[in-house]
């Protein structure tokens, strides 16, 4: 599957068509309001949705960032968006405040529209978020739960209502987090935005080993330097360890603001070669392979803009178990 072209084909603007909000409501009232919300709108010919996206957050600001990412995808990825906000206090009286927004946008000249449902969940009800998801899902479409504040506990009943989980390993870093991720990923598909954003590094590195001159070195990597923030750095290291079957002793991990890697290889005949993928200060990633005394090859790549939606469209286009990711996680736990 081809990558979406990042720089072009950006989304058309999303506009707010109508809003409804109320405090201390019941789900039935929200559903009725949702029906009413659509009625006065002139009906676009099609209403294509591809998923129900549930954003689970503690703070409104965190949720807002995720919503902004969805708006950025806009018409390209019509989904019903349900935001569940819950504060830490689960002891008080249960209650729901709701806000509904009907949004419209354009995708390649077609009108699309989608609903955004935001529920502030209070008290005990926040321990039963799963019961709030089902009433709002669109029939037959996958339910994708995006955890923007923290990783869910693997025993959280909410997970049963989700087909796919979305997380971002960049927020985590501790080995313990990787262990939790691994447990989650073994049960149901996990889409990791960090992993999606690492695609250019993986792709550039893989490309360096193409061709009769460079390919033989893929079996004789002896040392591997990987740097970056803990989450992505470990993921990348885990992927290399798994793919190239490297022992942990071959790795040197270090902290850096941007992720990068350099592999040192030595052929049986003693020829040395290096393969590196490095992100400079800007959004340029350059890859270079050099065989001592032999051919060299180079490629550069411009990363898409660092907007909240970076990695999201790629991630959302594969809602299935990603065995490579799971294998990378397994090795990342050890690193």
């Amino acid at each position: 599957m081809a990558q979406p072209v990042a720089a072009q084909g950006a989304t058309g603007a999303i506009s707010l068509l109508s809003v409804w909000s109320d405090e201390s409501v019941k789900v039935g009232e929200v559903l009725a309001a949702l029906d009413e919300l659509r009625r006065p709108e002139p009906m676009p010919p099609t209403r294509t949705s591809v998923l129900t996206l549930v954003i689970v957050a503690k703070q409104r600001a965190e949720a807002a960032r995720a919503q902004a990412a969805v708006h950025e995808l806009g018409g390209r990825h019509p989904a019903r968006v349900l935001t569940l906000l819950f504060d830490g206090d689960r002891g008080g009286a249960s209650g729901l405040d709701a806000e509904l927004r009907l949004l419209g946008g354009e995708a390649e000249g077609h009108q699309v529209w989608f609903e955004e449902i935001e529920l502030q969940v209070r008290g005990q009800a926040s321990m039963h978020l799963d019961s709030l998801i089902e009433p709002f899902t669109l029939p037959d479409l996958p339910v994708v739960c995006w955890f923007v504040t923290e990783l869910p506990d693997p025993e959280d009943p909410l997970l049963a209502a989700a087909d796919v989980l979305v997380v971002d390993a960049r927020q985590f870093g501790e080995a313990a987090c990787f262990a939790t991720l691994l447990t989650l990923a073994r049960r149901q598909p996990v889409v990791d935005l960090s992993w999606a954003r690492l695609m250019p590094w993986r792709s550039l590195l893989a490309g360096l080993f193409e061709g009769p001159d460079f390919r033989p070195f893929v079996t004789c990597v002896v040392r591997s330097e990987v740097w970056g923030r803990t989450g992505p750095c470990r993921l990348l290291g885990g992927w290399l360890a798994d793919r190239l079957d490297l022992p942990l002793s071959a790795f040197e991990l270090s902290a850096a603001p941007h992720v990068g890697l350099r592999l040192h290889a030595r052929s049986p005949s003693g020829q040395a070669a290096t393969f590196e993928v490095i992100r400079g200060d800007g959004r340029l990633v350059s890859a270079r392979a050099a065989i001592a005394g032999g051919p060299e090859s180079e490629a550069v790549l411009q990363l898409p803009e660092a907007t909240p939606a970076w990695g999201l469209p790629e991630a959302l286009s594969r809602l299935e178990h990603d065995r490579l990711y799971e294998r990378a996680l397994r090795r990342a736990v050890e690193l």
Partner: protein, 506 residues
């Protein structure tokens, strides 16, 4: 040569179709097609990271350019070079060989450049020669590549040739060109382009038919009344009048694009969706298309030429007033035809084709018109707005599928009317569809010939078109004028009317 180890890093990447290291040699590098289609397609491939790291383009044409000139031309493909560093860095490796194709030294210099690139960039002796040049030099260029030892791949490497349309101007010339190419290359090295096959929605005809259980059972003479294929352009011939005078709509559109769309629509299910599976079935259905006798041509084919009129809010000249066209030109700019496919699936189901320039809008579609219900239980007055069911595959623009069916009009009476249910690819998928040339270039580099035309397909399509061309050479063969901005001459309407049918309004 020892076997290379597999590359485990490639697994799971988007580039399952990633091209291996190679050099793309473009004959016609200074021409229109290269500037408008090939370079932009390469730029998009680069942006999608689908080009190999070890990759280069060598342009070959007469214009006296240096490497830097060619690189500058390639650089113009993007508006803002600073925003596209991957392209800017890629084109630094582009090379250019200036020379006449008739001059052997051109090919000697080309070979030196290719060998250099293999050494410096690791392109491994893999080459794709793209003939984006005038058809008259296809054969001489192929011969010269053979004569200079560039037609046969080295051990473990590949050499492929991509050939642009037109592939011949009738059956004998197509056969002659093939003979010439086959002297130098094997058929499996030849990639004949019909860019229609690179369009996502044309490929979607296959997905719709063979990935769904609900369409194929009704895809036959029991349920289908007739099929309409429309390839309409709003534009005229523009600056390409000189070229068009030697072609006409039948050669330019029907022999290739329409025949491809027809064969994908009508073919039997292939056993596998691979090059052989699909192309075998396409040829089979083309063989079933009835070939006309001269009398049948006049009865089943209409040819037209546009006159003045208004298209898309602008006044349009007549074809004979266009630049480079004589006042007595007899070149057709419109063809409508009624074809029959004589096999079990389609016997008795007419396939109506129409294509033309200066029609009201640019649209390509295939419409399956289904039979009416055997008995209508509604009082006649209440079902007046009801037409037969239709399934329309919209190929361009606005790619998608429309299903027309009857629905009850809200109210007390049981009044029924036709409504449309629309599906649009643009609104359902995140991925942007690759452009046709992007897809085809990548396929050629990756060695997948599925979307290219095999020699037997080309020849069979000419067998269908040749009798029509032949009949039109007669002095009294009718050429009917039509108003620019109309759907063609009235004779095209009559082709259907006399059988109680009518063209759709796409």
């Amino acid at each position: 040569m020892t076997e290379l180890p597999p590359n485990p890093l490639l697994e799971g990447l988007e580039g399952e179709r990633r091209a291996p290291p190679c050099t793309l040699v473009v004959f016609g590098a200074s021409g229109d097609l290269t500037a408008r289609k090939l370079l932009p397609a390469l730029e998009r491939l680069a942006r999608r990271r689908l080009l190999p790291t070890a990759f280069s383009v060598v342009g070959v044409a007469r214009t006296e350019w240096t490497d830097e000139d060619f690189q500058a031309v390639a650089g113009e493909v993007v508006k803002d070079a600073a925003a596209q560093p991957q392209w800017t860095s890629l084109i630094k490796g582009f090379r250019y060989v200036a020379g006449e194709y008739g001059d052997p030294s051109t090919f000697e210099r080309l070979r030196t450049v290719l060998d250099d690139l293999d050494r410096q960039r690791g392109t491994g002796g893999n080459r794709v020669f793209y003939l984006a040049t005038v058809p008259g030099v296809f054969a001489p260029v192929a011969e010269a590549l053979g004569a200079h030892g560039m037609a046969r791949p080295g051990p473990g490497a590949f050499v492929r040739v991509v050939i642009e349309k037109p592939f011949g101007r009738d059956l004998p010339s197509a056969v002659a060109l093939d003979d010439c190419l086959h002297q130098v290359f094997n058929e499996n090295q030849l990639y004949r382009i019909d860019h229609y096959l690179g369009k996502e929605t044309v490929q979607n005809v296959l997905a719709l038919r063979f990935a769904n259980a609900i369409f194929e059972p009704i895809w036959n003479r029991r349920y289908v009344d007739h099929v309409q294929i429309t390839v309409a352009e709003a534009g005229g011939v523009g600056h390409r009048g000189g070229f068009y005078e030697t072609a006409g709509a039948l050669r330019d559109i029907v022999q290739n694009h329409v025949m491809q769309v027809l064969s994908l629509t009508a073919m039997e299910p292939p056993v596998t969706i691979d090059a052989k599976g699909i192309r075998d079935e396409k040829v089979k259905v083309l063989r079933a298309v009835k070939i006309f006798s001269p009398e049948e041509v006049s009865h089943n084919v209409v040819r037209g030429q546009y006159e003045r009129g208004w298209v898309e809010g602008e006044e349009a000249r007549a074809y004979r007033e266009e630049e480079g066209i004589g006042p007595d030109s007899r070149t057709e700019t419109f063809v409508a035809a009624r074809l029959c496919i004589d096999n079990w699936r389609w016997a008795g189901v007419p396939f109506y084709l129409r294509t033309g320039k200066r029609l009201p809008k640019r649209v390509t579609e295939v419409a399956m018109q289904f039979r009416s219900v055997p008995h209508l239980p509604f009082p006649p007055g209440l079902a007046r707005g009801l037409g037969p069911n239709a399934l329309v595959l919209r190929i361009q623009p606005d790619e998608g599928i429309t299903l027309r069916f009857g629905a009850k009009v809200p109210g007390q009476a049981f009044r029924v009317r036709t409504v449309s249910m629309d599906f649009s690819y643009g609104a359902a998928f995140v991925e942007e569809s690759p452009e046709a040339y992007e897809r085809l270039l990548l396929d050629a580099m990756a060695g997948d010939p599925t979307l290219f035309i095999r020699t037997d397909e080309v020849e069979q399509a000419w067998r269908i078109c040749d009798p029509i061309l032949e009949a039109w050479t007669a002095d009294d063969a009718p050429l009917v004028p039509y108003r620019s901005g109309s759907w063609g001459p009235p004779a095209a309407e009559r082709l259907l009317e006399r059988e109680g049918r009518a063209w759709r309004n796409p």
